[in-house]
Amino acid sequence: MKISNNIYKLIITILIIHMSTISFAGVNELSDYYKTIRCLVCEGQSIQESDTEFAINLKEQIQKKYSSGMTVNEIDAELVKIYGEEISFNPQKNHYLLWGTPLIILFIIFIFIRNKIKFFKKT
């Protein structure tokens, strides 16, 4: 009886923890997402940190869209379409050349140094 009571309590506890994570999952996801959106009034801040009307309104609009069933990715795409890429702290993923150029330069420098070392070793 004691064991079955304990098992019963354990199941209830697990269910409560699971339900609480479900209810907060959306809030945490949005809260994290707000930190990636730039406040265009105070550009050093995200809309999570900023208390401008712009940031407050944007958070409300995003919340509405999220509650209506839009995913964070869909909302993000819409925001970029309306406000431009500067709205997001995360750059668009298709800037391969931008991110790849320093690596290309590093690689060229590496080859250059390696060849120089080989040359000096020979002499």
């Binding site: 265009l40 009034v41 401008t52 009307e53 712009f54 309104n57 944007l58 409300e60 609009q61 509405k64 309306i82 406000y83 431009g84 890429e85 050349l97 931008l98 150029t101 290309i104 330069i105 060229i108 420098i109 080859i111 250059f112 060849n115």
Partner: protein, 160 residues
């Protein structure tokens, strides 16, 4: 080509290619002609509770976002009144404002608007508003010019 020149030349070519590539890129926003949000014509006028007749507004009109709590909005108000005198139709969008404060503000300072819409931020979001005051010059539903901040005479003299 000398062997020791190959790598610096390769590097210079890669860099030049990157610079040319980025200089030739234009953003979608620069090329795309943005249309005014349909919400402007789907939101009833505050005073007569009717939807704005798009055709009655004509080819050219102005959309001005304002609020009673916004000091620069008050600064540009005389210009809006001047525009009204000159026959320019202005749709006022009252952004996130208390209704009583807004009515008092219009009563005290005058109404330069052909229509006034009350906005909880949804129209502002669709139009890409950053903050009040913000003014959009519309021709045939296309946004020709967007002025962030208060209007100055130089912004409107071509339309007067």
């Amino acid at each position: 080509m000398k062997k020791n020149l190959i790598i610096p030349v390769m590097g210079a070519v890669v860099l030049a290619a990157c610079v040319i590539f980025y200089l030739n890129q234009t953003t979608d926003k620069n090329n795309k002609q943005e249309e005014i949000s349909n919400l402007v014509f789907e939101t009833p006028d505050f005073y007569n509770n009717e939807l704005i007749d798009e055709k009655a507004m004509g080819e050219f009109y102005v959309v001005n976002f304002f609020a009673s709590w916004c000091k620069p909005c008050l600064a540009e108000h005389p210009l809006l009144m001047e525009m009204k005198k000159q026959g320019i139709k202005i749709i006022g969008v009252n952004f996130r404002d208390d209704e009583e404060n807004f009515k008092e503000w219009i009563k005290e300072h005058g109404n330069p608007f052909e229509h006034i819409l009350r906005d909880d931020g949804t129209i502002a979001y669709e139009m890409g508003l950053i903050g009040v005051p913000e003014t959009y010059f519309i021709v045939n539903k296309i946004i020709q010019k967007k002025i962030q901040g208060p209007l100055f005479y130089e912004d409107i003299e071509q339309y007067l």
